[in-house]
């Protein structure tokens, strides 16, 4: 029987992620979604295919997810990021019951049962509590996002960031800097502020252990520690927390193909032609 390959494409607000799988992950690529790149999910896909040494024709099924999923013309199906994150985390970390995903544009909590999302909460209204909060404030502090986590661990006297608005928080950190507050103390304060908001939101789900942290926020060790302090126990972080949505998308594609085969149904697939994402044209 011919091998089957599945692709998951997760177009987030800042990063586009593609995973190609059969029984295991064959290739994964993370590329920027930013203004210049956002319509180029096809390029990220091409890169992933090249890494996996496959042609697009060989991909059995493609599932797109993320906020840009709707108009990925080469996807066979679009599935919400809630379902894809749930499937991805359920596969990678089966013991997880609650997922906290901190993306560039939103943050969400997902309750899992048997690897599927049964409840969720989402913040897509306010930048505070999302990766954007850290991006904006990092700019004000003149440090890179990557440095923030490490620097915050050096904090000795964490400051309190009182502004609940991202724009004003950015001003507040600049003011703290001019007062001579040490950079690590300010960054630790920022992590605390974002952790409070995310924890407050996810609590609505009745948090159950184990908890997994995904999305770009999970790569920030300072934020992870701040959230762990709020939760009162350690969280699990997948090996590549940016990829759980794309992995889940690919796995859901696999599920769809298997279910169709069991029922003897013919699957409708898009034309195997890699074109730019139409939502941005």
């Amino acid at each position: 029987m011919k091998s089957q390959y599945f692709a998951g494409v997760d177009i987030g607000s800042t990063m586009t992620k593609v995973v190609v799988m059969n029984q295991t992950t064959l290739a994964s690529v993370i590329g920027p979604t930013g203004p210049e790149h956002r319509k180029l999910a096809n390029r990220v896909m091409e890169e992933a295919l090249a890494k996996a040494r496959l042609s697009f024709d060989e991909i059995t099924y493609v599932v797109a997810t993320g906020y840009g999923r709707i108009n990925v013309p080469f996807a066979d199906k679009q599935i919400t990021e809630i379902s894809c994150h749930a499937r991805g985390v359920g596969h990678l970390l089966p013991e997880v019951r609650t997922v906290i995903d901190i993306g560039g544009q939103d943050s969400k909590g997902i309750k899992l049962k048997e690897g599927r999302a049964v409840d969720f909460v989402m913040n897509d209204k306010c930048a505070a509590g999302t990766g954007r909060f850290l991006e904006v404030t990092a700019e004000g502090l003149g440090v890179s996002l990557e440095e923030m986590g490490r620097l915050s661990l050096e904090a000795e006297n964490r400051v309190e960031i009182s502004s609940i608005c991202t724009v004003f928080a950015a001003q507040e950190v600049v003011a703290k800097l001019s007062e001579g507050v040490a950079l690590p103390d300010i960054i630790a304060g920022l992590h605390e502020a974002i952790a409070i908001r995310i924890y407050g939101m996810v609590r609505r789900l009745k948090i159950e252990r184990e908890v997994a942290l995904t999305g770009g926020g999970a790569k920030n060790i300072g934020l992870v520690k701040a959230l762990e302090a709020k939760l009162g126990f350690p969280v699990l972080v997948p090996p590549e927390p940016l990829l759980t949505g794309a992995i889940g998308a690919a796995l859901l594609g696999k599920d769809i193909v298997q279910e169709a085969a069991e029922k003897g149904e013919t699957l409708v697939r898009s034309e195997r032609r890699l074109t730019e994402a139409s939502i941005f044209t």
Binding site: Y67, I79, T80, E81, I82, S83, A86, K113, E114, R116, A117, V118, D119, F120, V121, M122, D124, K125, R204, K206
Partner: protein, 447 residues
């Protein structure tokens, strides 16, 4: 948006029932009828819905200008922003109730011009002869809005009716204090009648008032019976339509037209059930709209739910009636019309108290949800947090948490936006949430 600019109207939302489709013209006639009545020399009053004075003003031939509803109409027509911005420029905070802001912005503009603002929806909000506040424990603008409106209309008198009800406590029976509440409300209503007599120069026709009170009782029963028909599978009517069919419930109480409307609705729903005609042919998920006023500019979201196989056979919002015959007292024995109104009010707001007291940790609002979940075979709950309406929305999350604690876990979705302020709304995000919610419903159903 500048004050001169007026947005294009959206195309009409598809309704499941003819009754809901008829509401547009009825609503328009209601609003335009106020201007007409004014020209005929009738007295016009600014009024709040669910106010206890429906029959009183009808009996005295006072024409109501329902101000919350007018703001809702501006919102539904996506033409509220210019009035909200006007209120903001008058120094009212944007975080106040956007019904009130829309109305105050409109009043400020109309009073400045000496005529209706340009292209005011459905002819505009007519300048009143009096303003009748209706303070409840529910909502503070119902006391303060008209006081603020007096800045622009200092010559227009206000009467503010206080309408309390016994708050829920799990360790005492509200019946111990209900008489005091009734006495208080009757006194308030007597004061209102006196105020109206003074400002209209007419005497109350008490016999007519009694007739209208009876008519309202009959209408409450009929609405309850019609809405209970929606338990059917497939349901013949959803919440999207109920946000239309609520209009006579709050606009036309104490009128024969209101009663006749619900008779038609009842008959239509019966027929649909007999023909097995549902909102959608293949119901997959039955949802309760578990609280929060809707975004009037986004009622088409209900159609979006329908497109995903979801229907709303029931809602807590704007179901402002119970069957009178289900109360724990025989209201027909209360022959004094003001006392009758007061008892109806107290019994409505305490209706779910007894059930709540039987379940530790519960609450009347939670019990109502539980009853609806069971009676209407509900799979999930959708709530809407409207940022500008704190009094109706502040406890929603708590209710949801309590429900899950004292009853059972059930998929839930919280939508976030506003009642009137469209700048708070993002269709793509809202629909992404709905999609994700449908996924969770499916996951729970297939377990």
């Amino acid at each position: 948006m500048s004050e001169e600019k007026k947005p294009e109207e959206r195309k009409k939302r598809r309704t499941a029932t003819e009754a809901a489709a008829k509401i547009g013209p009825i609503q328009k006639a209601n609003i335009q009828g106020v201007a007409q009545a004014r020209e005929e020399g009738k007295k016009v009053a600014y009024t709040f819905i669910c106010c206890c004075y429906d029959e009183i003003i009808r009996a005295m031939d006072i024409v109501p200008m329902w101000t919350e509803t007018y703001a809702g109409i501006c919102g539904a027509k996506r033409d509220a922003q210019r009035f909200l911005e006007r209120a903001e420029s008058e120094n009212f905070s944007r975080s106040l109730c956007t019904y009130a802001l829309c109305g105050l912005g409109f009043d400020a503009w109309r009073e400045e011009l000496g005529e209706m603002p340009p292209e005011a929806p459905w002819g505009g909000q007519v300048r009143p002869d009096m303003m009748l506040g209706s303070g409840q424990m529910l909502c503070d603008p119902r006391n303060k809005w008209y006081q603020a409106a007096q800045h622009y209309m200092p010559d227009v008198p206000i009467y503010d009716v206080g309408l309390p009800w016994p708050p829920y406590e799990d360790d005492y029976d509200y019946r111990e204090v209900q008489d005091y509440y009734v006495k208080y409300i009757v006194k308030e209503l007597k004061g209102l009648v006196k105020f109206l007599e003074k400002h209209t120069g007419k005497k109350m026709d008490w016999e007519r008032l009694s007739e209208l009170v009876d008519l309202t009782d009959k209408t409450w029963n009929l609405i309850w019976e019609a809405y209970e028909l929606r338990r059917a599978v497939p349901t013949p009517m959803g919440t999207g339509d109920a946000m239309n069919t609520m209009v006579p419930m709050v606009f036309n109480m104490g009128t024969q037209e209101g009663y006749d409307y619900y008779k038609d609705l009842y008959d239509e729903l019966k027929l649909k059930i007999a023909n097995k005609e549902g909102v959608i042919p293949d119901e997959k998920y039955r949802l309760v709209w578990g609280g929060g006023l809707p975004s009037w500019f986004a009622l088409s979201d209900f159609n979006y739910f329908n497109s995903k196989g979801a229907v709303f056979p029931v809602e807590t919002t704007y179901r402002m009636i119970e069957a009178i015959y289900n109360f724990d007292m025989d209201l027909t024995k209360i022959t004094d019309p003001l006392e009758h109104i007061a008892w109806r009010w107290v019994k409505f707001w305490t209706y779910w108290h007894d059930r709540a007291r039987k379940r530790p940790g519960s609450h009347p609002d939670v019990e109502r949800l539980i009853k609806y979940i069971e009676d209407y075979k509900i799979d999930g709950i959708v709530m809407h947090e409207a940022f500008s309406c704190r009094s109706w929305h502040v406890g929603l999350i708590w209710q949801l948490n309590q429900l899950k604690r004292v009853y059972r876990d059930i998929p839930s979705l919280i939508l976030e936006s506003d009642i009137v302020d469209i700048s708070s709304y993002n269709e793509a995000d809202t629909r992404a949430r709905i999609d994700a919610f449908i996924d969770t419903l499916e996951a729970v159903k297939s377990r």
